[in-house]
Symmetry: C2
Subunit: 430 residues, 2 copies
């Protein structure tokens, strides 16, 4: 471990350039922490000549990222290409096989292939680090892998996608509908031109999958995530949430239950004035129930150049000082299968909203279907009553079986007094 750690940087977008800049300008302070220097020896990007605000003269340039993995003068490959297959996956696999450490920000790749890649790294005596893959600069990977390790974690909850939290807080403060706020977020650059991965919950699911593995020592199980996006959320539901003393947030939730591990991504009602409920704008946050060590809460910037660079640099310094440790907190061979909580076992209290004709018998009909499924009501608001307009019937249930509530709502939706698909949002006990 003498001599400099030699870095091959694959991907020179906004984060890659940020990493290069910090490595070049903070050399002394980083070498104090690492116990040795950290030098970039090779970079790779699609376009060599694009201006990046950082001086890369004297550093080898590879047109083909894969070549980075094979260079004798590279000890660690930083993968900033992205995507769960293709170039990113083959580069990481090739690097690990060539006994290079890997630092990556690639949540999709690890959520899908994390266990296999961890095994590959361990087989070749190198490490694979991914602090930048979850919540940018919040040191949550390190905290779960190395900090909160004395007691079993029972649950992890997070606001893991800044775009969704931005949209929901904007909808809340302006009362404007989803599509309009999304459009504005796109114009401002807060949302992608194709926002599917964010608003559909896929990005949150990637990150949740990794948090689950870190918290429970299980094999990353992306397909085990039950996922609902924010595109159906209405200003009305956000308003009613406020009246009941809640805020609407897109959460990733992983819980250890009697039947296995439950992984959920969904818009949820979070009790107002709790740390998660108070997360504003595009901030990210993670809350963990760490047994006797108590509840923990972390908040910070989840994405963008600075936060992501911060995470990559932390990983590189760990690699430089030889702080390896198993990728997901235990050897890949010891990762437990992610036994999924059966869908029938899923329980929660729910917020329900029905748009109904203001005619006699509608409440009786709704109540009867709920009672048939043993769903009982804790509190209720009825609103509306402009002549001729449908009324909103809004309620919060006691804890009930998820599938039972779904069945009740399906039955209720068939009524000719119900004018819209009923809305169902879980209450998150945070």
């Amino acid at each position: 471990m003498s001599g400099e750690l030699r870095v091959g940087l694959a991907g020179l977008g906004t984060v890659g350039a940020g990493v290069a800049k910090v490595l070049l300008t903070q050399m002394r302070a980083l070498s104090w922490r690492a116990g040795r220097g950290i030098a970039i020896t090779a970079v790779s990007a699609r376009d060599k000549s694009r201006p990046r605000g950082v001086e890369l003269g004297g550093i080898a340039f590879e047109k083909d990222a894969a070549a980075i993995a094979e260079r004798a003068d590279v000890d660690v490959v930083v993968e900033l290409i992205g995507g769960e297959e293709g170039m990113a996956r083959s580069l990481v696999e090739q690097a690990l096989r060539a006994k290079k450490h890997v630092v990556t920000a690639n949540k999709a790749l690890l959520a899908r292939h994390g266990a296999a890649l961890a095994a590959l790294a361990e087989r070749h005596g190198v490490t694979l680090k991914f602090e930048a893959a979850i919540c940018g600069g919040i040191p949550i990977v390190k905290s779960l892998r190395e900090g909160l390790i004395a007691y079993d974690i029972s649950a992890v909850r997070g606001i893991l996608n800044g775009t969704c939290n931005f949209i929901l807080t904007q909808m809340e403060s302006t009362g404007r509908p989803f599509a309009e706020v999304l459009g504005e977020a796109q114009r401002l650059g807060y949302a992608e031109a194709d926002p599917t991965l964010d608003i559909g919950g896929g990005d949150t699911a990637h990150k949740l999958t990794l948090l689950t593995s870190l918290a429970f020592g299980t094999i990353p199980d992306l397909d085990g995530v039950a996922m609902t996006g924010i595109d159906k959320v209405t200003p009305a539901d956000i308003g009613f949430a406020g009246e009941f003393g809640y805020r609407l947030k897109l959460l990733g939730v992983a819980r250890r239950t009697a039947g296995g591990i439950e992984q959920l991504v969904h818009p949820a009602m979070v009790r107002a004035r709790t740390p998660l409920a108070d997360v504003e704008s595009s901030f990210n946050a993670v809350a963990a129930d760490a047994g006797e060590a108590g509840p923990f809460f972390f908040q910070g910037r989840g994405a963008g150049r600075g936060p992501t660079t911060s995470a990559v640099i932390a990983d590189l310094v760990d690699v430089a000082r030889g702080a390896f440790g198993p990728v997901f907190g235990r050897p890949a061979t010891e990762l437990a299968p992610a036994t999924r909580e059966p869908a029938e076992a899923r329980m929660s209290a729910y917020y329900l909203r029905f748009q109904a004709l203001d005619v006699p018998g509608v409440m009786a009909e709704i109540s009867r279907h709920l009672a048939n499924e043993r769903v009982s009501i804790e509190s209720m608001i009825q609103r509306g009553r402009s002549p001729g307009e449908p009324v909103a019937i809004v309620m919060i249930t006691h804890e009930a079986q998820h599938v039972a509530v779904v069945r009740a709502l399906k039955a209720i939706a068939t009524s000719d007094k119900i004018v819209e698909t009923p809305c169902m949002i879980p209450m998150e006990a945070a």
Copy 2:
């Protein structure tokens, strides 16, 4: 680094017993993380026979803690004795000289002797870890030392003492005076029989000193902390804080300024609905401004068996897997002197409260003295006016020189219309 890491545990109080229990029951999971086993080979306590709920049979018992440091079968000494001098200090020094790693929860020792002990550790090729010394289980030491390292930190603020936060939130919710709430906290075991170290700010100062070093790479400088406790805080001030949209919190604040490092411990007005303001009851929290990586916020349990044990275990696993790194994030020889911000340079907005006779000319007198010192008023509340009773004149100033406000208040206090020492509380821009 083959074979088990052999632990000598000095101090078997509530935390010591907690550490022993986790080491004995979580062996397998911890060895996965550490890459090798961790075994307790020797313990030391004042009373051998006291029941501790943990089976220590077969482990050597030393009546004298110092003997732990000299045992050939100990690789790391866990110091849980406490105190900045005496037994704790000599044990740690002896252990480091004997080339044993040290893990400690001792904030007072490190705040006072941190630089010397770090140098001693480095000279002997061993490490000194202290996650448990600040905010129990929040992995804040690790996060500052290894996580938030890419960009310069400009400020760290924390609610570092659970007893004080408990008392202040109780005063707020009940409207009862300090002495009464303290008494109750003592009866409930939330406050010590001698509460001076907590309520006077000393405990917060110890922790702040260490946070400052980690954040700015400076020599721990306990004497550089300007300290005010919470014993003068009144329900009236907490009430007025609420009216202005603030909450009163005991904060430790460290800032890098043009003139040096400013370290303050004081009750401060924190803007309501910000993460620090929302910290309830006995929770601890730390907020850091980490440059381009953005603002960070961590909250968790700061004290007690579970959280402190969690921190000690994390340090032990780090030691076991050889993750050393410099004690305060840079080699002891490279720690910068803690240049103190000159008192004259200290600036803040202030909350001021005057108890005045309700007679003509009192506002004129107050205003004149403030104007003389170039302190200008941003907003004001006047309250009181029960016949014959003094009125409360409450204001928030614009940013002003600390020493100028002190001078103005001294002048105002000499007035025969002012019936109480004026109250002055900084507004914390969080």
